[in-house]
Symmetry: C2
Subunit: 355 residues, 2 copies
Amino acid sequence: MSLPQRFHWEKLADFCESVFRKAGVPTETAQIVAQSLVEADLRGVDSHGVVRTDIYLRRLEAGRIQPLAEPSVISEGPGFTLLDGNNNFGAYVGMKALRTALDRAKAGGIGIVGVKGSNHFGTGAFYALQAIREDMILMVMSNASQTMPPTGGIRPFIGTNPLCVGVPAGAEQPFVLDMATSVVARGKIIVAAQKGEPIPLGWAIDKDGNPTTDAQAALEGSVLPVGGAKGYAISMVIDILSGVLTGAGYGQYVNNMYENWNEDQNVGHFFMAIDIQRFIPLPFFKGRMDDYIRSLKAEPKAPGVPEILIPGELEHRQSERRKQYGIELPLKVAEELHGIGLRYGVSLLDAAMPD
Amino acid sequence: MSLPQRFHWEKLADFCESVFRKAGVPTETAQIVAQSLVEADLRGVDSHGVVRTDIYLRRLEAGRIQPLAEPSVISEGPGFTLLDGNNNFGAYVGMKALRTALDRAKAGGIGIVGVKGSNHFGTGAFYALQAIREDMILMVMSNASQTMPPTGGIRPFIGTNPLCVGVPAGAEQPFVLDMATSVVARGKIIVAAQKGEPIPLGWAIDKDGNPTTDAQAALEGSVLPVGGAKGYAISMVIDILSGVLTGAGYGQYVNNMYENWNEDQNVGHFFMAIDIQRFIPLPFFKGRMDDYIRSLKAEPKAPGVPEILIPGELEHRQSERRKQYGIELPLKVAEELHGIGLRYGVSLLDAAMPD
């Protein structure tokens, strides 16, 4: 029997949720983690999609994630909270941080939440899109395990620490920037390695510091920061706010979820929510965002450029498409999920879309 | 008589302050503006140094800066303030915003200040270094007039909107990132044009969208965003937080200080101050910063790289050097300042250092 490769997004989320529940994760947490993965697939960020189910489960099974732990408050003030995720799933901890930031912003205009003791929290856009639905601006950062050298260095020291900013618009699609501070997300190199495809020169160096187009060699080496010293510096900022300031790991102390099975990851995050209407009237703001986006899109284009794009625009279109036509998974990923399903008595086939 | 070109930093600041005072600027404001300019020169950011005295003065003389206007509060909450700079000097408005952000952070842990109705505010580092002296983390952004195309565009639409983050350390020098979101600061191209020097390929395109090494052609064209679409997106974030959210100009509505003499600039800024000790104990934080910086600097280096650098390190050394040996100005800049001095009855020669 050949395995299907195209799946219905909601049913795929149900599949992941069921697997996590059967592995001992409370329903709400299992739902959040599953949604965070499938939403990444919907938006075309396959590197952060259901492909991560396996590693999340393995961390859980190895006792390196505590699915029953509730995040606790370390310190707080009128505009901020410092949370300890107590090593629950990153997406669950992230949702708690998001809710706290949004509630604080609603109460006082601004909500900042630092987080220690967390794990890989998926994509920042998962949180930003929820904030946007509540007419909030959200900035989210997270540190990550070592993958990039400092400028002038030759081996991984800092993570491809992601920066995400979500801003609601009016009639236009919201602004959603969600970027790694590397030239490309390391997840894209993982996907290339899984597909056996080469990567462009300039994305990474091998373990000896030489430029490489071999995805596997790149994974064993270092991803390069975007824009050289500037990307390195922004990645440091994210590490400082998410890690040094919160008491989480930073630099070499953020543990690799694929390689370190003796220690918790101790990932740190930094959330900033802004209640727009406390600054200026919301309709005025949304009108300005629409005008800004429309003016940008109306700019004259370089030859061969079909369209000026706003961050998040392609991902939004991809999401609409995949909700309708399904999420296509590489055979290797489908096989892996199928195996996980067999192990936990949940059928991946139920999530398949008819051809 | 040949004009001296090497100046004592404090005397150079006195010169600028005197000129501004004689042009009708109150003493405190004149001091702040002069300090902001000279501190940029000290740190080697010549593009934002006393070379800007002329344009600031010309805006003032043309009635396009209101040196007596006090910034006013538009809206506020426990963790934030929205200010109208009422078109005073950017550095004066920026200092007011900084003080407000620091005071709010001291009171509640977090201080966010949005600003509309401002002007060019100098370097972000000027504010960050002051926050660092008070053991605060500061993030500062400002929008700027149109100089970069969106990705896929061919003419200037967004500014090289700068991002600055300052973080105190313990025994180590503080972390001070102060970057334009372009490949290089436009000011560097201005300096190259003044010196008649070419610029590297990749910094800019000419007015027809072609790559150029001609600094003058670049100034007539567009500076390129750092890291392609990522720099474009970060520049948009800064424009949204500094401009769209505050009621200041954004995109095409931030007026060029060199070209638009009929309208105020309406620059916007965004300040975020964090009182570290409200999150975790200050000595613990500083120890972690020192460890982070030392670990980075101890990383193995690529061939030909003498040293791994931390953002702000070179600028700090340059500042120490220039405090001792003086600030050297290009002849053209010295001549311009000398002319200004003659006009206002202040002698630039008094600021010269003996050979």
